[in-house]
């Protein structure tokens, strides 16, 4: 009987903790621009310094984008000054730090379609995808080579949509906004 009460208490505590996590928790992701990140084999110290920050659970260094993506543990405090300091200690220059929207947050925003002419291969698809992803408000980019089309979500409803067209035109393709 005593054992039954004990196990029930444990289960109740676990259930409470899980519920609390769902209510108050949620991993936070930060994107940090790192200037000078041009030699990938220099990045060991950067990785070590950023991983040493308390609360950082996962780190991804995207060399081609010049970005570090930091995933924090649930409820961990984020100190942007500390991130900047660690990057300097690693021998690089810290740039803009942005919070990456969670999946739920990403759902809010305008769904935008672009018709794109001139794409001929998967490499073009990747270039288009990269160019759109680099724009601050853009998420969930999908590029369809056969249909010559890109769709994505922009979380900033006031964002100047002609900038999407320009970003693609600058790659040498011909883009146009599709009617909503």
């Amino acid at each position: 009987m005593k054992h039954t009460i004990f196990f029930k208490s444990i289960l109740a505590s676990l259930a409470f903790l899980l519920a609390a996590g769902a209510l108050f928790g949620g991993q936070k992701q930060l994107s940090v621009r790192i200037d000078g990140l041009s030699c990938p084999f220099c990045a060991f110290g950067l990785e070590k310094k950023l991983k040493s920050i308390e609360g950082v659970e996962k780190l991804e260094i995207k060399v081609n984008d010049g970005l570090a993506i930091l995933t924090y543990k649930d409820g961990a405090a984020i100190d942007e000054n500390l991130i900047t300091k660690k990057i300097k200690e690693a021998g690089f220059t810290a740039g803009e730090i942005k919070t990456i929207a969670t999946k739920e947050e990403k759902m809010d925003g305008d769904k935008i379609g672009l018709s794109i002419k001139g794409m001929s291969c998967e490499s073009c698809v990747k270039r288009v995808k990269d160019a759109l992803t680099k724009i601050d408000c853009v998420h969930d980019v999908d590029v369809d080579l056969q249909r010559e089309k890109a769709t994505f979500v922009c979380t900033d409803t006031k964002f100047d949509k002609t900038k999407f067209v320009k970003a693609i035109d600058d790659l040498g393709f011909e883009a146009a906004l599709e009617e909503e």
């Binding site: 621009r33 200037d35 000078g36 990140l37 041009s38 030699c39 990938p40 084999f41 220099c42 990045a43 060991f44 110290g45 950067l46 990785e47 991804e60 260094i61 995207k62 060399v63 081609n64 010049g66 300097k88 200690e89 690693a90 021998g91 690089f92 220059t93 740039g95 990747k126």
Partner: protein, 299 residues
Amino acid sequence: MKRIISSVAVSFLFSCIFLNNAQAQGPSINTDTPIMLGLQGRGLRTFTKFVHKTTLLQAGSEINDDMNRQANVRITPVIIPYTLFNERFQVGVIVPFMDIDFDSRTQQTASRGIGDFRLFTKYLLYQRDRKLETFRIAAKAAVKLPSGNENKSPALGSGSTDYAFSTVAGWIKNRIGLYLEGIYNLNTSNGSTNFGDSFVYNFAFGYRLLPAIYETYPSPQLNGFLEINGATTGRNRINGQIIENSGGTIVFLSPGLQFVGGRKWLLEASLQYPLIQQPNGTQLATDWTISLGTRILIF
């Protein structure tokens, strides 16, 4: 008299060896770099440089060598740097292991052992970082200590305490890297011989061959290098007397390949072929050198 003959032999054989040794500390394979990060900042580096010398040159032209002189040298330096103060300041030591064979019709000699230690320090003077781009300039000073046995034949060290001062600039953007380095070697006397000072000039062009797009760190990568490594050396003096057959100019064209396997190691290889070789007087010239090496992150 014996001392003078020994010094001439040292001068004759080693002028190029010590220059080559001075050139070879940087991550672009034969040129130094101002970037003191990752494998370039806290990695142990070692390589073996094979130097082959058979051609006798007089005033820059090949002449017949009745003595059939030939030198084969293998230098294996172990370089350990350590970087401090936000990766802006570096100290380090180079310990070279020497293996030298000298053959001629009348003489066959060989020496093996530790050469002259070198202590160095590097400071980052300028840093400009942009997205996927960095430009840095560093100043460097080094002192070479007479730890190699100078009395062996062939000698393993110069017997003198020598100094080097250099400046190196490096620019990397995406797949391309450019490096430029100038070194002044200030050589002192070992009691009787004063090796001529030298000016070393290095230029390296690096290109990331693979991957074309480097997505996420760490990923394997293959780099190609094309370097120009040159040195102009003054004549040696023995007891104040100028040695005609010493010093001169040599410029190598040095293609190389470097494979970075991950976070903590790389392998590299470089061939050096002389483009210009104008030793003063009559001297045994360098036919080629090959370097095979590795760097391993230890700190």
